[in-house]
Symmetry: C2
Subunit: 352 residues, 2 copies
């Protein structure tokens, strides 16, 4: 009974969080000394440091992040904006960003745009409001107007884009070589004996998708394949739209014998339709996706795809941010990192 009571009293005491002032009082030194001791300042004696650390532990001291952030003018928070988290690519990028930044004392705030421009603007406002020290983002499909990103730049907050970027914005960027990836894919399909290669691509206004389209067109030229406008289709690249656009291709008098789709999700939709219609993949039509999402290895037939190196992208994005903060020069050369993509060949693109 008595024990319980004393426990309760202790709990009540711990409710009021202990501050450096409490530590200072115990040791009869100034709060400044405590602060310095905790930061291992050279002007504090070893004895005092030891004592401070001991008392801090005893009182279960947890530094107030808000106070130090306010004083130092930085929140040690980095905002991350992604179209969605439930794709392996984005969640893997996030995980790697987190890993690198946590080590340097930064935390991340993750927000999703759900491919909506409006939500993305909200997210940016939210992050600015939260006083983040930087923003790492991949833009929504809808996003064309860059006003909100300009706002971030204008505030002098480091902005790093990955995957879905924009040239006009003139900020740091980490991505893969989309143009070259298309070449690799087309080359692979040509080697498998394909002659009529279609491309279900993303919106042209998004740079990465535009590059994939350009790569596709140029690669066709290179291999002296005819460029048929019917075979080049713009899509939102969702599962549903992939299915729909594949349907469109199947209606052609002269069907393609291979389809390169700029997203694994859309490729999955296309594959489902083909399976339902008993059209044989890869015998009748070969399929290549993009992104190397785990399910590409799991479906039947498994889907050939492009590995986007999400781990490396995440790491480099984080490092780019850290670089920004360490160098305090106002002008800084932009960091544009373009990684080579890697083709992962699976069943869906085997020879006829």
């Amino acid at each position: 009974m008595l024990k319980r009571l004393s426990k309760d009293i202790k709990k009540l005491n711990t409710k009021k969080k202990t501050t450096i002032k409490d530590i200072a009082n115990v040791l009869n030194i100034s709060t400044a000394a405590v602060s310095k001791a905790l930061h291992n300042d050279s002007r504090i004696s070893k004895k005092t440091k030891k004592a401070v650390r001991q008392v801090a532990k005893n009182l279960n001291y947890q530094p107030n992040h808000l106070a130090s952030a306010l004083r130092k003018g930085k929140s040690n928070l980095v905002g991350v904006i992604v179209p969605r988290t439930n794709s392996n690519f984005f969640s893997s990028v996030i995980q790697n960003i987190e890993e690198v930044l946590n080590k340097e004392g930064y935390n991340i705030i993750i927000t999703q745009s759900n491919e909506s421009y409006k939500k993305e603007c909200n997210n940016i406002d939210t992050l600015l409001f939260t006083q983040v020290d930087g923003i790492i983002a991949s833009m929504a499909n809808e996003t064309i107007d860059l006003e909100f990103y300009e706002k971030v730049k204008a505030k002098g907050i480091p902005l790093i884009l990955f995957d879905r970027g924009e040239n006009d914005l003139n900020v740091d960027y980490i991505g893969i070589n989309d143009y070259e990836s298309s070449h690799v894919i087309v080359e692979h399909l040509v080697k498998q004996g394909r002659k009529r290669i279609a491309h279900i691509g993303g919106y042209k206004h998004t740079r990465i998708f535009n590059n994939r389209i350009r790569g596709y067109v140029d690669a066709l030229k290179k291999h002296h394949l005819p460029l048929d406008n019917e075979l080049l289709i713009e899509s939102s690249l969702t599962i549903e739209d992939g299915r729909q656009k594949m349907e469109q291709l199947l209606k052609l008098k002269n069907r393609p014998d291979a389809v390169y789709i700029a997203s694994d999700y859309a490729a999955l939709g296309a594959l489902q339709l083909l399976n339902e219609l008993q059209i044989k993949v890869p015998e009748d039509i070969a399929l290549v996706g993009f992104g190397n999402e785990p399910f590409t290895a799991m479906v039947t037939p498994s889907i050939t795809s492009i590995n986007q190196h999400s781990e490396e992208i995440g790491k480099q994005a984080a490092l780019t941010f850290l670089n920004y903060k360490n160098k305090k020069t106002i002008k800084q050369t932009l960091n544009k990192i373009i990684l080579d993509a890697e083709l992962v060949v699976r069943e869906s693109s085997a020879p006829k």
Copy 2:
């Protein structure tokens, strides 16, 4: 040339963020008046409010969240911990939490434990360090020791668990009726004429998985089916382990004619193996997963599963937190919300 220069000067000026002090100076009033005006305090005249708002807009004022959080003793940040974000269930829960909390002026910090106990502890420390006003979490598979969650409770920070919870912790919880779900599944399989129903379940120490196992056992009894220990297997429920445990089941002399798997991911692994071995689903073996992940509808054959109502879980978790903050009573009755799950019948469990 001159225009550009003046723009640059403006930019330099905006670098130093405007504060309520700046607004106060312009209007020759006190910062207190500005603060009150911005919060629509009744003791400020309409004229002043209007003027303040105008100047705030002109100077592009953005409130310093850190300062107000420090002063008010709350950060308006809610921490969310999930095992991973790249599952549709979790990302959907997160999205709904975010939606509800954003409306009330809260932002969320998402962290992933990757099913690791150590990472989860780190996440908790991180969130406490960031001075979150509350934590909404779903525990990692590994987590047995609740010391860190007790720490959260001891600090008086609202803690709400969902999906993966723990009875011992005695905190608010939102989840589905796992025990009942197992009944629904077994009943469904029995109706399809299945006689030997196996269960690949999760770790027994996790409450939800334990409930599913108990439900499975009791439902078998109810339908007078024999309970065969060989047919009840504990698994980590990853894709790989699902595959492996299915292999184990296939080695039995007396194979099951239906398998209920406590996770869609493990069910996917099992299905892959069955497909490879040309074992017909559902003719030879029926399959039921859990979670209603989108891919269950996409694979061949599509997988029957349980819809966990992720949207509702997210919403209720957020509302439970808000409820916590609004009522300032110290004692509060615990909120245990158990939603009814819904069986989504697909190809994998059609009659023989």
